[in-house]
Subunit: 445 residues, 2 copies
């Protein structure tokens, strides 16, 4: 049975109020798949199905933010409050932050006191920090417990925590003393003390650590979860590996879009974002890049005479200018990604520039040979010489500009990822026109 | 004490053969940090330190492939065999695959029979598939065990498995029957049967499933590990979440570099790759893109007369042509990333194209207004009209080309991510020249 047939039958069952039949037909589905099904059903029926799902709060967290908002607007307040109450703390805070003031005010009184406080705390952290992505549900142990009692404790806490595979050992003031894994507990003797077993050499993040930093730390040390502490050392939450994976994917999207001169927003959906939003994200750069093109135009206007006297030069203009832009885009792309993955650092700039000069020399040399052959064919030896010299200079300068731009942007407090291919191309175009026509004017007039 | 001071002292201690002092000074270091330290020490001393580290095989897995190879070439064969024997099965197979035939032949006899077979098996899978990234060390249970015995089994298996948080329930023929988590075991009653507790609705991958697919599945269902089976349903390995994170990061790098027209290689290090390799990765696209530029040149040559008669047109050429390329790059970038993250699918093409047309109309309209004002200022009403019409057409066509190119490439069996900004720019440049000069020739002659 195809997926579409299945959806059709499920929809029929819901139309006819055959709730149990509908539930039975999706009982082997995982939460992520159920969320897809809900997004594809007519909204009326998806509401009915969601309300009857046994794991509805968990499924709800897998819905995309815009679908979540649709449900939040339509569900009876009490049902919404129940779902929100059952959601994991980090996902709940995310949802709460997307609600408008009126919706927030309507929802809060329907929640339990502890949930209200939890939401208020988690919503208070700045977007993009560890605090904003952390969960407040983690297992804790006291240092003086023995292994047998610790496992009993974890069993009791299991329902209210994101993971029981790691437990955090806290003192009376909730300061983080150590970490112990369930594996360590299982392998230890029952009467051993937590304080003797726990790892005290802990990797942690502060609440205001950048989320990208958090994701990188989790990936670097292959952690399941990273404890988050405030600046007094008091434990406030954990970030789990699955949230780190989401952050890494969002950051990659942001960088990727910036590289294409799209004002990046990690939650921009090409499929469902409003047309106007997509327009706004793009028009800024398009207009900004006009200035680069105008510079090229001015360069051409300035050298009008040499162009008029050697019309063959115009034929090669796009080739020379384009090659410089392409080589520069490559350099900028390599540099931006290497900075993002931590392969290189800003302090390596001089070393990288010297390597890049060698690569640029080889690339420029290859292109110069190719274009001078073409120039000889369409013009004469002098044209070939002008083209070869121009190509070599343009490609080399393009590479060095492309490689340096991320560093320059960083110096001015901007994201190095804004060194997009279109930006590099615009700069290199203007520079290419000037170099080409200047060399031509010196050698041909 | 700064990191450089620390390295200096550590190096001194190793120079003077104070091994215990050196070991004490790094005893709080994690494997990833130790690998960094090893890469920064003079090679002689890093060999000494590595050989004495208690967790040397684990630290070794964190070294970059080129540093691993350096050690593999330098270490005594017996030491290398010991390290390789202790490494996790997936990392060991990766290392083995990077050795040349002679090194492989030297290493194999020094290993135990089981390790040899494991290496041979894991090395036999095609790069980029689940088989090539999976580990063969996972915990297994029999379905007729009770919980108490199962936990005892896991305790025994703990040292030889990547994780004991999930155990795979296999029948006599090693076919995968179900999965059970340590959390389920801890929460269950001691006398319950594994067969009654295990989850039988399993997400799994085949050995030949694409690694990108595997990483996406792990992220989608927030799994800790994904079991890998052959086409007979026999379990052969697991892929863990940390390997999935590495794959996701590599795939993002590959796409990012392709977007900048760098022939992507996920293991290309900007810092340490040979100059010649960097040259090869880039020259291919640079030369290929020459053809686009030549087309632009031919277009200009064809319309020489109209340019000569209206020299003001040349001033606006880079602006019009550049804007089309920039808008097209944006479209291609948005599309490539949306395809990579699964936000859109190839079947959505018509829908996306209709949305893109609207966005392109708005962008083209904005740019047309801006450029026609400039045109009126430097020329007259007719020039302004030519510029407005050209800009609108060029930007709209640029967007539609940028959006369609990933689909076209996919149709021809190529990676849609090859629709790089430079490629789109080259195509759009040629198209822009033709549109602009054609419109000018119709309205101005």
């Amino acid at each position: 049975m195809s997926h579409n047939n299945f959806l059709y039958l499920l929809n029929e069952a819901l139309d006819k109020q055959h709730i149990q039949l509908a539930l039975d037909s999706v009982k082997t589905f995982r939460a992520a798949d159920l969320a897809d099904v809900l997004s594809q059903l007519p909204f009326e029926n998806s509401q009915v199905l969601l309300q009857h799902l046994p794991d509805r709060a968990y499924v709800f967290t897998y819905l995309s933010p815009d679908v979540q908002m649709k449900f939040a607007n339509a569900l009876p307040r009490q049902t919404l409050a129940e779902i929100v109450g059952e959601m994991s703390s980090d996902k709940r805070a995310d949802l709460f932050k997307s609600l408008n003031q009126q919706q927030q005010d309507a929802l809060l009184p329907a929640l339990a006191q502890a949930e209200r406080e939890d939401i208020r705390l988690l919503s208070s952290f700045v977007e993009g920090t560890a605090g904003a992505i952390m969960s407040s549900e983690y297992a804790t142990l006291k240092p003086d417990l023995n292994v047998q009692d610790a496992i009993k404790m974890l069993r009791l806490e299991a329902l209210d925590t994101e993971t029981i595979y790691f437990a955090y050992v806290l003192d009376e003031a909730r300061k983080l003393l150590g970490v112990i894994s369930l594996k360590q507990l299982i392998l230890a003797k029952e009467e051993q003390n937590i304080a003797d077993l726990m790892t005290t050499n802990i990797v942690s993040a502060f609440v205001d650590t950048d989320q990208d930093e958090v994701a990188k730390t989790i990936a670097r040390y292959d952690l399941l979860a990273l404890p988050v502490i405030d600046h007094q050392g008091v434990m406030v939450g954990i970030v789990t590996y699955d949230d780190a994976m989401d952050v890494a994917s969002e950051e990659a999207t942001e960088d990727f879009l910036k590289a294409g001169a799209v004002n990046a927003d990690r939650k921009l959906s090409l499929k469902s974002a409003p047309i106007l939003l997509l327009y706004q994200r793009r028009v800024y750069w398009l207009v900004f890049l006009v200035f680069g093109s105008l510079l090229s135009g001015l360069g051409i206007a300035h050298f009008e005479d040499i162009i008029a006297a050697n019309i063959v030069l115009v034929f090669f203009l796009p080739l020379l200018v384009g090659s410089g832009g392409n080589a520069g885009s490559q350099s900028a792309t390599l540099m931006v990604r290497a900075l993002a993955t931590g392969d290189v650092h800003f302090k390596d700039w001089f070393y990288l520039l010297s390597r890049e000069s060698l690569v640029a020399l080889c690339l420029g040399g290859t292109m110069a040979m190719a274009v001078s052959a073409l120039g000889y064919f369409r013009g004469d030896e002098m044209v070939a010489l002008v083209l070869a010299l121009s190509m070599l200079t343009i490609v080399m300068m393009g590479c060095l500009i492309g490689m340096s731009l991320p560093f320059v942007l960083n110096r001015f407090g901007m994201d190095p990822a804004s060194a997009s291919a279109p930006l590099v191309t615009s700069i290199c175009d203007a520079k290419g026109v000037l170099i080409y026509l200047f060399i031509a004017s010196q050698l041909l007039l």
